[in-house]
């Protein structure tokens, strides 16, 4: 019954994914590129809202699979 590394925890991995996307938005910060008159920053965040929900679904399914095995 070896304990798995905490680095392989789905929660840890998905946190890294979340931080990478948020980092991408806040580091790039494309304030001067516009789509439909709204800064691309806002649109990247808008896409992010759906991405966050997708991550929540992946987590719930992943943990259930781990528990099942």
């Amino acid at each position: 019954m070896a304990s798995r590394s905490k680095f392989k925890d789905p929660g840890f991995i998905l946190t890294v994914v979340l931080v990478i996307y948020a980092g991408f938005v806040f580091i790039w910060w494309p304030t001067d590129i516009y789509m439909l008159g709204i800064s691309l920053v806002a649109w990247l965040m808008f896409i992010g809202l759906f991405f966050w929900f997708l991550l929540a679904v992946i987590y719930a399914v992943w943990i259930e699979k781990l528990e099942g095995s």
């Binding site: 304030t31 806002a42 966050w52 929540a56 987590y59 943990i63």
Partner: protein, 479 residues
């Protein structure tokens, strides 16, 4: 006075109070039931309950108000942080805290770090949540004074006492079950409002164009980068550091139900903010933001502009519902902080459950009176006040919780230094006002992190039992 809206609001509050009284009987059966609804909430109820607890008044009024005033990227920053709340807390702490078996956040600190950290944490919860009542009371006072045609301070006092009575009567049972209704009204109301707006403007693109025609800066970044980033991290961490949200996590039947509830609540939140985007654009297209006494009132103006009076009344009841459920969850966290974590744990462990519940009730009343007194002269806009609370709790609790769960070497002195150091730096930055609004946690949270790591490494490692406890938090990974 808006007669139709007033009648609907009144009926709504009466129905909610009756529900509160009904659940009161069940609540007084045991202390466990009172604080965490007997851990028997299913996925469906749980999703709406978590959603309604996280969606405070500022989710609707504050985000829309700040989006119209400061440009739509500000609104999306708000959403970007807020919708990540549930996934982020689920990834890092929810399962582990659940497995630890504790009932409140300070209780977790006691289990992991000992009594001293618990007492400091309970005090911070009480301070943070009492201040968090202020934006809720401000929002309810604004709506109440508009609908009922009474003075703002009078509206704050009447509604504040009403909320308290309701939360005090029923505990988590009443709050969780009425949340199902409150969450549904709020969500359905804003989605219908968004549909009315899109139809009225002949589509989404022309809605955006209408907003830009009135306010050419609607799509621009108008604030310093730090304000956006600070707001984002303060909200991102909210599920981890907010005692009221953490307590909801314990009300679910089992871990799987808790995860699924959080996942669906995330979708509900997503729908709320997509609809909120249309409301923000409609608010900007009205071109009246400069004429309002309080920017946060733009949401109510949009409702009145696009909805007939009856639908408007239902929507305002939904807004009031959001505020009431958030305020009630906070009052419960304050009451648990003092009655459960400080009195029962440290002053009189033999106190019977009825007395502890009764003490919780007195604490609630005192906290709401303090909140009402501050809210009569609110110190800032709703979105900014909520950002302060999030930033304060993040600076105090964020790393002591996460490192407590994920890092065995974290010890009591490290946690104490991180908690106290982070809070003090945050308060100094708020008082000094050297940074843009809501940027304080960008400095204070890393200070807390560094203090916690350095002090932990410089002092004795925790006992073997504590290290085993940390392993136990992660036992879902064993195979």
């Amino acid at each position: 006075m808006q007669v139709t809206e007033s009648i609907i609001l009144l009926i709504y509050l009466i129905v909610m109070t009756i529900m509160g009284i009904y659940f009161y009987r069940r609540a007084r059966q045991s202390e466990n039931d009172y604080f965490t609804a007997g851990q028997s909430i299913n996925t469906f109820v749980g999703a709406f309950a978590i959603f309604a607890a996280v969606a405070s008044s500022s989710s609707l009024m504050g985000a829309v108000g700040s989006g119209v005033a400061l440009g739509v990227p500000y609104f999306f920053t708000y959403a970007f942080g807020v919708i990540a709340i549930l996934p982020f807390s689920m990834f890092l702490v929810s399962g582990q805290i659940r497995r630890s078996g504790v009932k409140t956040l300070p209780e977790f600190f006691k289990q992991r770090f000992g009594k001293s950290v618990q007492i400091v944490a309970a005090a911070i919860v009480v301070i943070g949540m009492t201040f968090y009542m202020v934006p809720q009371l401000t929002a309810s006072g604004l709506i109440g004074s508009h609908v009922l045609g009474i003075d703002y301070p009078m509206a704050v006092i009447i509604l504040g006492l009403g909320f308290t009575l309701y939360a005090a009567l029923g505990g988590m049972w009443a709050i969780t079950y009425t949340d199902l209704i409150q969450g549904a009204i709020m969500l359905i109301g804003i989605i219908i409002l968004a549909l009315f707006i899109v139809v009225d403007h002949n589509g989404i693109v022309s809605l955006i164009n209408d907003a830009l025609a009135v306010d050419p800066a609607f799509g621009d970044i108008t604030q310093p980068w730090m304000s956006y980033f600070g707001l984002f991290i303060a909200f991102l961490w909210f599920g981890i550091i907010s005692p009221s949200v953490v307590m909801r996590n314990f009300a679910s039947r089992d871990a799987k139900t808790a995860r699924r509830s959080a996942m669906w609540a995330c979708l509900l939140y997503l729908a709320l903010f997509v609809a909120g985007f249309f409301v923000t654009a409609a608010g900007a297209s009205m071109g009246i933001i400069d004429t309002l006494d309080n920017t946060d009132m733009i949401f109510v103006s949009v409702i009145e502009q696009y909805f007939p009076a009856i639908l408007g009344g239902v929507m305002l009841a939904g807004l009031m519902a959001a505020i009431m459920s958030s305020a009630d969850a906070m009052l419960l966290a304050i009451s648990a902080g003092i009655a459960h974590d400080i009195y029962k744990e440290h002053i009189n462990p033999k106190a019977n459950e009825r007395f502890v519940t009764g003490l919780g009730l007195v604490v609630m009343i005192v906290a709401s009176i303090v909140g009402i007194l501050i809210a009569i002269e609110p110190p800032g806009l709703i979105a900014i006040m909520v950002g302060w609370v999030g930033g304060f709790l993040l600076s105090a609790f964020g790393f002591p919780i996460v490192l407590g769960i994920w890092w065995k070497r974290a010890n009591t002195l490290g946690a104490l230094s991180g908690m106290v150091g982070g809070s003090i730096v945050f308060l100094i930055l708020i008082i000094g006002q050297w940074f843009p609004t809501n940027a304080e946690p960008i400095i204070a949270a890393p200070v807390s992190l560094i203090l916690m790591i350095v002090v932990s490494l410089m002092t004795e490692p925790p006992s073997d039992e504590t290290k085993e406890l940390v392993d136990y938090y992660h036992t879902h990974l064993e195979e």
